[in-house]
Each structure stands twice: as structure tokens, then as C-alpha cells.
Amino acid sequence: MPSALSRFIKNLLLLLLLIIVADYIIGKWLEYAYFHIQSGTEYKTIYVMGKAKEDMVLLGSSRAYHHYQPHILENKLGRSIYNGGRDGAGLLYHYAMYQQLRKNGHTKAILLDMTIDELDKRSVTYEHLNALAPFYNRYPEVRSLLQLRSPYEPIKLKSSLYRFNSLPFYIAVYNRSSDDAANKGFKPLHNKLNTSLGTLQPSAYTTEVDTVLLNYFKQLLKEVKNDKVELYVCISPYYIRIPYPTPSMKKMKELCLEANIPFMDFSNHPAFMQHPGLFNEPIHLNEDGAIRYSHLLADTLSKLSSSQSSFH
């Protein structure tokens, strides 16, 4: 072998070794710092997966994060509640959260906030799973979910830096506690919807339901039944009138009815729909809207538990 080539190979191996060592050392430090985050979105995931001791945990996307005021629900239902909603999270993320909650054994009830297109086939469904990457080593339950992103994911996740990709900023910013803890995971939004935007039209909904998501939803319904955990599936209000029924909603409702799980649809509730004063923008309620909605939901859940019957 020519000396230049052997030198090149030696140098390449040296570089590879340096990368592995740096990846390991920086990764260890990031892991330590990440699991000591005190606030923010990442903290909520850490909290739900490892620390939540509340009777009821709310799971969902940003709509859950900004729509459910736990104190109102706690006062009316007499249960401790934590809002575990996370921006951009989808059903697979919620499923991962439930896997840890059931393992920890403190949670008696789950309130699952779903979007009207929750089960639709979309590429972002799997992209959003990167929120689970930091837990790859810690919680084996998330591994099979992360593998849904791509067949190469297990190889990529061998890199510690990849697991903590894009997180150093959040680790640095959220290393002390904030109002989130006092609000029990809820974050109110303060804008009022700008009605000068004109008539808002609902975006087109794909007709195809993702079979992977559908199977995970079925699995979740089955597991809560087996674990004797109460599950409430909810669609919180939208500003725009939703063209009924979206395929996802139809499927969710059908499966909940089959499993005798309460499915509550507030998406077109007249107290919210087309009320700009209650919305931050068309998808999210503002603080006034969240308070009103939390009261409405608490009343509904109270009636539900007293009647012990499912409804929609």
C-alpha cells in the first residue's frame, strides 16, 4: 500500500476515534445537563416520563399545553392534575408518555387532547418523535417508537450528540424553574385573534388515515383498559368551523365507542367557534378561552363521573 494512502487511512481512523471520544464526553455532559433542566418544554417531558405523581395527566400537542388550566380542573374534580401537553407532539409521543406513566404507576386517569387530523398520514408525524431521542438510553420503551422515523435511526442514535441535537440552547436557557411549575404545565397565551385576516377557511384534510397511528391508538385504548386507568379522549375548540367529519375524527370516535371510552368533541362548540376574543390565533385558545374551556370541561367531566356513562 502506498505510504500516502496508509497515512490517509491512519489519519481517518484517528479522526474517527476523536469523534467517538468527543461524542461520548460531550454527550455525557449534555445528558447530565438535560436531565437537570428545571423548566420549559423539555422539562415537561422529563417530568411526565419520570416524576409525575398526579392523579390525572393531560397529554396532547400545543393545543393541550395552552387549553387546559389544571387548577380549575383540580378544584372542580378534586384530583391532582398535570398538563403534559407539548408543542408539536402527536399520538406516538403521547403513547410513549403513557408507557412511562403506567410503569411509574401513580397515574389514575389520562386526558388525551387530540387534533381533528391526529391520525392523518403526514411526514411530520415521525419527525416530531425527535423529542424522545434524549430518552433513548434511559427508557427502552421509546426505542421502538424512534425506529419508526427511519430504519437507520438506531444507528444514528448511537451518537450522543445526535440524541441531544439542537438541545444545548434549551439546556442553557431552562436550567432554572419558572412559572410553568406553578401552572402545573399549563402556559396561557395572551393575544386576541386578529379578525382583519378575513374569512378563515379550514385547510384541506387528507382522507388517508395512517395505519401505524391507528394501530397505536388501538393499542393505547387496549392498554388503559388492561391497566384500569381512566381515559378521556377530547377535541378542544377550534375557531374555524370544521368540515365534519374528518376521517381521523370518525375513526377516533368509532374506536372510543367500541372500547367504551368517553370521546368528547368540543371542536365546533358554539361557545368558542367564531369568537375571536377567546382565541390567540385560529388554532389556539388564549387565556380567557382556556379558562372558559377548562370550566366547561370540568363540568362535563363531573357530570360524566356522576353518571358513569360514556357520551360524546
Binding site: 490517509f8 468527543a22 460531550i26 444514528k156 445526535y162 439542537s166 440552547f169
Partner: protein
């Protein structure tokens, strides 16, 4: 296959290794098969379109060379019609039909709506079509011998590093390289890998990070103020540069690793002091294509000034149309044509300004003008583009902040600016990648790889220019 995918991380070393292990006589076949696999990772059936144009141009090249007089011209015309015809069907047919329908409706002529084609545009169609056309034109001009080896000619069109987004090569520059016996040269390998590393940084750390902000704003124009839209426009200017130049560096680097030299496609375009200079630094392979095969044949600078100005505008309108079948691209092209016309009439660039401050002012103006034109490039419709312009002017305000994205984005931009300034003004000093000290070189490589792993966006998807 995307350069920023995990598959490519396996594909590239494997193809390069096999290339050097094979005897020279089989290497063309290996590269051709690898290029087919690379292309088929997108939509496999579309490779048939490539085969069709390859066969047409291969035969046309030989016939052009063997013919004389008017027949040569006819052969060239047939080849160009075939190439442009494929482009017209797949890229422009629906645009044409939609505009004809709209025109008929405006004229109150009621007819049955013309049928639209429900097809996806083949990846990189405009790129390999232009590369194929440059071959037959050069054969016609006598600058290139007709290629007798069908496999080599196919490789000229399909060479995987530059198949889907250029650089758009000229036959004189690349075909002879497929016959050369490339030895495994570590200096080529190192240079190629360095280019790929920098290209990957530009793509996944800068472009795809900025895309998160740009997309969030440009996909919800009615809900954002002028401040957000101005910031998104500025970031899009950086994004599109890093996306496309990043792709080009990876392409050039991948080819260089095997000993092939592709043409430079970008030379720090945002440091240009005029729009005309910008177009000698941005997407050089396309700009020079239009110069050589459209602007010069129209008369170039040898005709009178009004005709020159017309030629300039015409070339830029066609360039806009090349980018996409939408009026937004045509306006983008027209705006750039207009800038060049104004510069030409004003005699800008004839006198070299000695003042550094004046030069920087020119750079700033050029960047602003180019960024303004990007609004039309990025907007989904003309109406939306004008709404953006109107909001930027009349509705200023604090931009919408996505703190993490903007933080990473601005750090990445800062690294980019430092690198660009260093390469532009002090290329021989403060060397990192090619520093004589191995410790500095390796520290640089290590830092870049760690930055990519930690701050890269790996769900960023495909390169913007793939759609063209």
C-alpha cells in the same frame, strides 16, 4: 438519494471505494450503475425519461457531426425540440393550460377546460436537460467531438454528483475525464472530503435551520407583520444560498474524491458590489450556460445598446421561467434583468471605486436588491409576494421570535460570514482546513463534524433546487 441522507453516507464511500478497486475499463459502467441507483431513489420510473433524452442526443450528436450544411442545423433543431419538448410537457404544460384557461375566461369565451396533467416533476429535469442540450450545441459548433461510446455519453448526463442539481457541465470539460485513468490520490480525497464537509455544514446547519423560521413565516403570511416578513426574507436569502451552494460543494467534493473536477458553481455571491457581478458569482454554471447559448447568439454586447438591454431582459425572463412554471419566477427573473439594465445604462461598475466604505455600501445595496427579488422567488403567488412587500413597507413591528431557531441560525450565519470574508479577502491566511499543522486541521474537522451532529437539522428534507 439526498446528499444529506444516511443512505448517502453509505453510498458515497462504497461507490468511491469500488471505483478505485475496479479496473479502469469497468469504471464507467460502475459509475453509470451507481448513478442509476442514485436517481432511482427518487421516482424510479422517471429514469426512462432520462434514457429517452440520452438516446436522442447521443444519436443526434453523431448525425450532426456526420452531416453538413442545413442538415446539421435541422439535426440540432430536432435534438433541442426533443429536449425542450420533454421539459415543456413535464414542467410547463399545466402552467400553459392554466394561463390559457384564465385568458379565455377573461375574454368571456366559454370552452371546456383543457385537461391538466397530474404528474410530479422529475427531479432535476431542467438541469440534465440543459446539460444534454449543451452537448449537441457544442458538437454542432465543432467544439466537441460526438461521443461514440453510449455508456460514456449516458454518464455525461447521469454522473451522480451533478445529476439532479448541477453544476451544469460542458462536454469539453467533463467527457474526457471519464476516459482518464484516475489513480487513488489522497490529496484529491482530502480536498473532496473537505468540500463535502463544508457543503454539509452549509446545508444542514445553516440552510435547514433557517428554513424552520422562513417556512413558519412564509407559510402564514396573513398572520405576520412586516418585521417578521423582512427578517424571513433576509434569512431566506441566506438559506437559498447555503442550500444550493452547499449542494454544489458536496457534488464537487464527491466528484473530486474520485479524481473528477467539476466547475465552480458559487464564489461568495453576496460579497458582490453590483448585481452584474452577483451573476458572475451565483449559480455560475447556469449563468454561463445562458450567456454562451442564449445571450451571445442573440448578439451579446456586440449589438447596439437598446438591443443589448432587450437581450438582457429576455435572457433573465427565460432564466426565471427555467426555475419554475409560475409567474413569480418570471417576475423574479424580470427584476434581475431590470437591475442589470439599470446598472448598464448607469454605467455602474465601469469605474472601480477605491473607497472601501463605498464598496461596502454597494455590497449592501446589491444584497438588498437581490433579497428583494427573492420575495418573488419564495412566495407561492404574485398576490402573496405583493402582500409581503406591502406589509414590509406599511406594517413594521417586532418580528415573531422562535428563539432557539434564531439563536442557532444567527450563530451559523456568523460562522458563514467569517468564512466568506476570510476566503474573499485573506485566502492565504488563517487557514484551518488546509493548515500545515495537523493538530489545527484535525481540530477543524472535529469541530465541524461535532457542530453538524449537534446543531444540524436532519429532518430538513430535500434541496430547494431539486424541484427545478
Amino acid at each position: 438519494m439526498l446528499f444529506n441522507s444516511f443512505q448517502f453516507l453509505l453510498f458515497f464511500p462504497l461507490v468511491t471505494l469500488i471505483y478505485f478497486l475496479l479496473p479502469h475499463r469497468w469504471r464507467w459502467l460502475h459509475l453509470l450503475l451507481a448513478s442509476c441507483i442514485f436517481y432511482c431513489a427518487f421516482i424510479p420510473a422517471y429514469i426512462l425519461i432520462l434514457f429517452f433524452t440520452i438516446l436522442i442526443d447521443y444519436v443526434a450528436g453523431i448525425w450532426i457531426e456526420q452531416s453538413e450544411g442545413k442538415k446539421r442545423k435541422w439535426m440540432l433543431a430536432m435534438s433541442i425540440i426533443a429536449n425542450v419538448g420533454v421539459l415543456a410537457i413535464f414542467k410547463y404544460y399545466n402552467f400553459f393550460i392554466a394561463n390559457v384557461d384564465a385568458l379565455l375566461a377573461d375574454l368571456s369565451i366559454t370552452t371546456q377546460p383543457l385537461p391538466l396533467l397530474h404528474i410530479i416533476l422529475p427531479i432535476g429535469l431542467s438541469f440534465h436537460t440543459f446539460q444534454a442540450m449543451s452537448y449537441t450545441i457544442e458538437v454542432y459548433r465543432g467544439q466537441q467531438k460526438a461521443e461514440r461510446h453510449l455508456g460514456i455519453y449516458a454518464l455525461y448526463v447521469m454522473f451522480y454528483p451533478q445529476l439532479v442539481a448541477g453544476p451544469i457541465e460542458r462536454p469539453q470539460h467533463i467527457i474526457h475525464q471519464f476516459y482518464e485513468r484516475h489513480r487513488l490520490d489522497t490529496s484529491n480525497l482530502v480536498k473532496g472530503l473537505r468540500l463535502m464537509l463544508w457543503g454539509m455544514f452549509m446545508k444542514v446547519v445553516v440552510a435547514d435551520r433557517l428554513a424552520l423560521y422562513v417556512d413558519a413565516i412564509y407559510e402564514n403570511v396573513p398572520q405576520h407583520n412586516g418585521g417578521s416578513l423582512a427578517l424571513a426574507t433576509f434569512l431566506f436569502a441566506i438559506q437559498i444560498y447555503c442550500d444550493f451552494a452547499g449542494y454544489s460543494y458536496i457534488a464537487i467534493g464527491a466528484a473530486r474524491s474520485m479524481g473528477f473536477r467539476l466547475m465552480t458553481n458559487f464564489r461568495r455571491p453576496y460579497l458582490s458590489t453590483s448585481v452584474s457581478e452577483f451573476w458572475t458569482r451565483w449559480h455560475i454554471s447556469l449563468s454561463s450556460w445562458f450567456r454562451d447559448y442564449l445571450y451571445f447568439p442573440l448578439g451579446g454586447n456586440r449589438v447596439k445598446l437598446p438591443r443589448q438591454l432587450f437581450n438582457l431582459m429576455f435572457v433573465f425572463l427565460v432564466s426565471g421561467l427555467w426555475h419554475g412554471a409560475n409567474w413569480t419566477f418570471i417576475i423574479w427573473g424580470g427584476l434581475n434583468g431590470l437591475y442589470l439594465i439599470v446598472e448598464k445604462v448607469a454605467g455602474h461598475g465601469k469605474r472601480e471605486s477605491a473607497h472601501t466604505a463605498i464598496k461596502w455600501l454597494h455590497r449592501l445595496i446589491t444584497f438588498s436588491l437581490i433579497s428583494f427579488s427573492w420575495i418573488f422567488f419564495r412566495a407561492s403567488s404574485i398576490e402573496e409576494a405583493f402582500t409581503i412587500v406591502q406589509k414590509i413597507v406599511t406594517d413594521p413591528g417586532m418580528p415573531f421570535m422562535i428563539w432557539g431557531t434564531l439563536f442557532y441560525g444567527f450563530i451559523a450565519i456568523l460562522i458563514l460570514i467569517v468564512a466568506e470574508l476570510k476566503h474573499e479577502f485573506i485566502p492565504a491566511r488563517m487557514r484551518l482546513a488546509n493548515n500545515p499543522y495537523i493538530a489545527i486541521r484535525y481540530a477543524y474537522y472535529l469541530c465541524m463534524i461535532l457542530i453538524i451532529l449537534l446543531f444540524g437539522v436532519f429532518d430538513g428534507g430535500q434541496f430547494i433546487y431539486f424541484q427545478f
